[in-house]
């Protein structure tokens, strides 16, 4: 492959490298998110009926800066050094995930216990657990790449890792995140080379388990039947009307109507509808294209991955961004059944923003370090904390 022969320095510092493209895309999406968020939340009032137009915007801007800081730290960390602590990280996250479930410790909103409070901030641990899962799974699979054909160590153990992360999340309950975790985890297994004959039955089994869970819960069943029938729910219908109202050119920034009480969650999960109404077809298509561009740039970047750990880690990061985007846009446009999931970089929400910072940081990190593959892996891995 030609890339391996290109001089390291010039490649690493080129402005047109895949990571730079991903960064520009991420920044563009973030900026779009801030604009739309302001439009969607400027009419909000607090309990006393006083308008608080900047409340969400301020929070989000602070979140963007915090995510930037996290991104910088993640891009400087020596990932191979961090692998030493993979199981500590996993353990720590699992403890936090379990803590979330304990009443009075975890914060419950609208029937789901997903948050841990710290000062005035709330963190959704499962967001960080997603990255933790990818990190640990990549670490395990890289260590055991020769045993990938075995049932136990090549399939069931990594499946167990996925399960360990997914179980507390499903108890919150947060089916969206659980499904995303399971999907990304199994895709990573698949990419690592797990046997088809292990993967296919597992997917079938998980599918039927999911169906069972849906059938078990009347609320979820209703959502699913609503999705399948022509008569959409109020929520979804308002989302679809927003796209129609936007048309090709959009109503103009700040001119959207749907976020004004017609459309619940307009600033978080359904923010893409507001993009559709205010900015129109070109911006929504553009957003989808930008996510696709991030994915393609990531794939190009992946071709330089020095080893399976890095390959799976970056692949996982890409999937966390892109699969989540696909699911969110699919839900908002009525392709998938309604499922609470935020749109990366755009939706309001601190935890998701911080996770995106971390994911981008990891990709930037690899962009810098993969050029130095000349160093013996062992030596570098044992080296400094900062790469």
């Amino acid at each position: 492959m030609t890339s391996a022969h290109t001089p390291v320095t010039s490649r690493g510092r080129s402005l047109f490298n895949p990571a730079a493209i991903i960064t520009v895309c991420a920044l563009g999406l973030t900026f779009l998110g801030l604009s739309i968020l302001f439009s969607a939340s400027a009419w909000f009032k607090n309990k006393q009926g006083v308008e608080v137009p900047y409340q969400y915007l301020t929070k989000q801007v602070i979140g963007v800066f915090a995510a930037g800081a996290l991104c910088f730290v993640a891009s400087r960390l020596n990932l191979d050094y961090a692998r030493r602590y993979a199981w500590w990280i996993a353990g720590g996250l699992l403890v936090l995930l379990v803590l979330v479930l304990i009443p009075h410790v975890g914060i419950s909103v609208k029937g789901s216990r997903r948050w841990l409070g710290f000062a005035s901030m709330r963190f959704q641990v499962s967001e960080f657990a997603k990255l933790g899962l990818v990190f640990c799974l990549a670490h395990y699979l890289a260590l055991n790449q020769t045993r990938i054909g075995e049932l136990k160590r090549g399939f069931l153990y990594p499946l167990g890792i996925i399960g360990a992360f997914a179980l507390p999340v499903i108890c919150e309950p947060d089916f969206g995140t659980t499904a995303l975790m399971a999907a990304v985890g199994i895709v990573l297994l698949f990419l690592a080379g797990a046997k088809w004959r292990f993967i296919l039955p597992t997917v079938a089994l998980l599918g039927s388990a999911f169906a069972l869970l849906v059938a078990h819960n009347p609320n979820r069943l209703r959502r699913m039947t609503e999705f399948l029938s022509e008569e959409k729910s109020y929520h979804l219908r308002q989302g679809l009307i927003a796209f129609a109202a936007g048309g090709t050119d959009g109503a103009g920034l700040g001119q959207g109507r749907q976020q004004l009480s017609y459309l619940p969650e307009a600033h978080t999960d359904f923010i893409f509808s507001v993009v559709g109404e205010e900015l129109g077809l070109w911006f929504t298509l553009g957003t989808v294209l930008v996510f696709a561009l991030i994915f393609v740039a990531g794939l190009v970047h992946l071709r330089r991955a020095p080893n399976l750990f890095h390959y799976l880690l970056v692949n996982g990061c890409l999937l966390l961004i892109c699969v989540q985007a696909v699911i969110n846009i699919g839900v908002v446009t009525g392709v998938f059944p309604t499922k609470g999931m935020s749109l990366p970089f755009i939706s309001a929400g601190l935890s998701n923003l911080l996770l995106m910072g971390l994911l981008l940081g990891v990709i930037l990190n690899t962009q810098r370090t993969w050029g130095r593959a000349a160093l013996p892996e062992r030596e570098r891995a044992m080296g400094e904390v900062y790469a």
Binding site: M1, K47, Q48, G49, K110, G111, Q145, V187, F190, L191, A192, G193, Q238, L240, I241, F243, A244, A245, G246, G247, T248, R257, L260, S261, Y262, L263, P264, G276, G280, L281, T284, L285, V288, L289, F291, A292, F295, V296, L299, L302, R303, A305, N307, L308, Y311, N315, L319, C322, V323, V326, I329, G330, T333, G334, V335
Partner: protein, 663 residues
């Protein structure tokens, strides 16, 4: 891919899958944005937009001094946001309940109901139109609901989001509708946080109740108007009806968008046409004069218990009506409570009802004969004749109440001789007498606004029978309205000119600028000033010792006037089964119409009392005994109120002759 650690076909498979997903989403977006657009938008716009009517305030009707006879009071809605109530205000809750006339328990229930039922949403979602401001739901009775949750009868547009249990916060609960301005101020002064007032509509109020009610009239309630079929006529009377065009104003409207909870979005106002408040109408009516005559009417009513009675007061110099009242009357604030059989109370009988004027009508024949130079005040007529030849035929003259011999013209008036009056008219002849009667304003409406005015009945000479020339001069076989009689007397008081009677002084727009102003308007000259002066002096003889109505005399003032006592026509069933109208000996219309000071008239007063015989002295209601004393009482009060000076002592020779003849 050549990497040893990763299978290249697997990543290609994954990449293809993800990219296909992105492609699918793109296609879906094109579908939603462009292809399915119309179908999805559907009725969205009609639901999202609303037209709100902004009610114009109906203008006031004021008396000459600016006192409001009819006014529009804002109907304020007082409500509460139960979520911002403070504990420390709780001590004042009972005070608020007392102010609003609300049971304390009910107030407490409204204040502590913080959620509305989840099921209330579909109920209110049934019609964005019902929130469109046009619908008045004053009479909505709230459906029975559990104590902890509120009925879904009120606008919930201020409510918060539904919580996990599907309950919606109640951010606006109505305490009372139609609160007065003063109650509102008192309620807000209590300082209970969360209690707010919102204007809703206007209520027509008549602060002086029955005072001038027949002139001012009433208008149906605003909410009745709003729901009425526009093709039906407006239910209104008096000035309210006549000046409706000016008073009504122009409602404004606003077309704006609604958000998901039917709240208006001021930032997206589409169109707005501001409302214009109605113009105010200032009347010539003086409330104090009106009060004097209505008090007098009450007195007449309690003393004589007549069928009806009317009093009109005007200024002969301008033609402005200063007071106009009738018995029986009503309170326009409660027009709806009047029972059907008493609807006659609504009529301004001074304009709508006709009666035979009787002797007061004699001024026409006398004025005409004087004006034509046919007679002088000193011309003598034999009033003992029972028949006289006219146009070649003997004509029977009417009966007299007293026996008269030869009388001068002045005495014919002061003694009220029927035969004398007939002879005066005969001097004039049919057509000229009729022309004078027309010129004095009889037989056609006066044009005074604000009532269904009657023409009266006066046949032209072609339709007269042989006796009409003897009967009409004394006010029989002619029907007039009180207002016509008043106007005819005013002609003499205003120096022979017929002034248009006016009740509206001016119309001002909502900023107080004058839109229209009505001043003294001469319709025509009926008689010369000299004739008018002579007539005035002759009429002074009525309120003298020799005249028919000493009761009308006001010491120190020259009172001119004429009494009238008319037998009413009564249906009598004859033997052959037909019904004939016969002059009754038991039912009379007693009247006195006069003015003062005679030489410089400033006030014309008409008092007409219908059928007061039952309680009149002697069982017959004479103008002298029933109407003249009222004239005097009103005159005396107006002298002090309007500061009327006693007239100048300009005594013409002819008048001196009258005096001398009497001695």
């Amino acid at each position: 891919m050549r990497k040893g650690f990763a299978s290249s076909y697997r990543i290609v498979l994954l990449a293809t899958g993800i990219l296909v997903c992105f492609g699918g989403l793109g296609a879906r977006l094109v579908w939603l944005h462009v292809l399915a657009r119309e179908q999805l938008l559907g009725k969205v716009n009609s639901v999202r937009q609303q037209i709100t009517i902004e009610r114009a305030r109906r203008g006031d009707i004021l008396d000459a001094r600016g006192a409001p006879l009819a006014t529009s009071a804002p109907m304020i809605v007082l409500g509460v946001d139960p979520w911002v109530l403070r504990k420390e205000d709780e001590a004042r809750w009972p005070q608020l309940a007392g102010l609003l006339d609300l049971p304390e328990a009910e107030l407490r229930r409204i204040f502590t109901t913080k959620y509305r039922v989840a099921a209330s949403k579909p109920a209110t979602a049934s019609g964005p139109a019902s929130a469109a401001g046009l619908v008045f739901n004053f009479n909505v009775t709230p459906p029975p609901a559990p104590a902890a949750v509120a009925p879904a009868d009120e606008e919930d547009d201020l409510d918060g989001e539904a919580d996990a249990n599907g309950r919606r916060e109640k951010r606006w609960a109505v305490l009372r509708r139609g609160v007065s301005e003063s109650t509102k101020n008192a309620a807000l002064a209590l300082g209970i946080k969360g209690v707010r007032a919102e204007p809703a509509s206007y209520k027509r109020e008549y602060p002086f109740r029955q005072l001038a009610s027949h002139v001012v009239g009433f208008i149906e309630r605003e909410q009745v108007q709003a729901t009425r079929n526009p093709s039906e006529p407006l239910r209104a009377t008096g000035i309210e009806r006549y000046c409706d065009f000016y008073l009504r104003g122009q409602d404004g409207w606003r077309k704006d968008e609604l958000d998901g909870r039917n709240r208006e979005l001021p930032q997206f106002n589409l169109r707005k046409v501001p409302h214009t408040d109605g113009y105010s109408v200032t009347l010539t009516l003086d409330l104090n004069v009106q009060d004097v005559i209505e008090e007098e009417l009450k007195r007449i009513a309690s003393t004589f218990q007549p069928l009806k009675a009317s009093i009109v007061v005007s200024d002969p110099r301008t033609g402005f009506i200063l007071g106009m009242a009738n018995y029986p009357t009503y309170d326009p604030n409660e027009y709806a409570k009047i029972p059907k059989e008493e609807m006659a109370r609504l009529r301004n009988v001074a304009m709508t009802d006709i009666y035979e004027p009787g002797s007061v009508f004699k001024i026409v024949a006398a004025s005409g004969a004087l004006e034509e130079g046919l007679v002088t005040p000193d011309s003598r007529f034999d009033c003992s004749l029972t028949s006289i030849e006219y146009k070649g035929k003997p004509r029977g003259l009417p009966r007299e109440d007293h026996h008269f011999g030869h009388l001068t013209v002045a005495e014919i008036i002061s003694h009220s001789s029927n035969r004398g009056a007939a002879q005066l008219a005969m001097q004039l002849g049919d057509q000229k007498f009729y022309n004078y009667a027309r010129a004095f304003g009889f037989g056609h409406t006066t044009g005074l606004p604000g009532g269904a005015e009657e023409n009266g009945m006066m046949a032209p000479p072609a339709k007269w029978d042989g006796l009409t020339i003897t009967r009409m001069p004394m006010g029989h076989s002619v029907s007039v309205t009180v207002l016509q009689m008043h106007q005819a007397m005013s002609v003499i008081a205003s120096g022979g000119v017929l002034l248009r009677p006016q009740i509206i002084r001016e119309i001002r727009d909502e900023k107080g600028e004058i839109v229209a102003r009505f001043d003294r308007t001469e319709e025509r000259r009926v008689i010369s000033e000299a004739t008018a002066r002579t007539m005035a002096r002759m009429l002074m003889g009525v309120a003298s010792k020799e005249g028919t109505a000493l009761e009308a005399a006001i010491p120190g003032y020259e009172v001119a006037g004429k009494t009238g006592t008319t037998q009413k026509l009564e249906p009598v069933s004859l033997a052959d089964g037909t019904v004939k109208q016969v002059y009754s000996a038991r039912h009379h219309v007693a009247s006195f119409v006069g003015f003062f000071p005679a030489s410089r008239p400033q006030i014309v007063i008409s008092v007409i009392v219908d059928d007061a015989d039952g309680h009149a002295p002697g069982g017959v209601a004479y103008g002298r005994t029933v109407a003249a004393p009222s004239f005097k009482r009103i005159g005396e009060q107006l002298i002090s109120y309007r500061d009327i000076k006693a007239g100048g002592a300009v005594v013409a020779p002819s008048f001196a002759a009258v005096e001398q003849a009497r001695r």
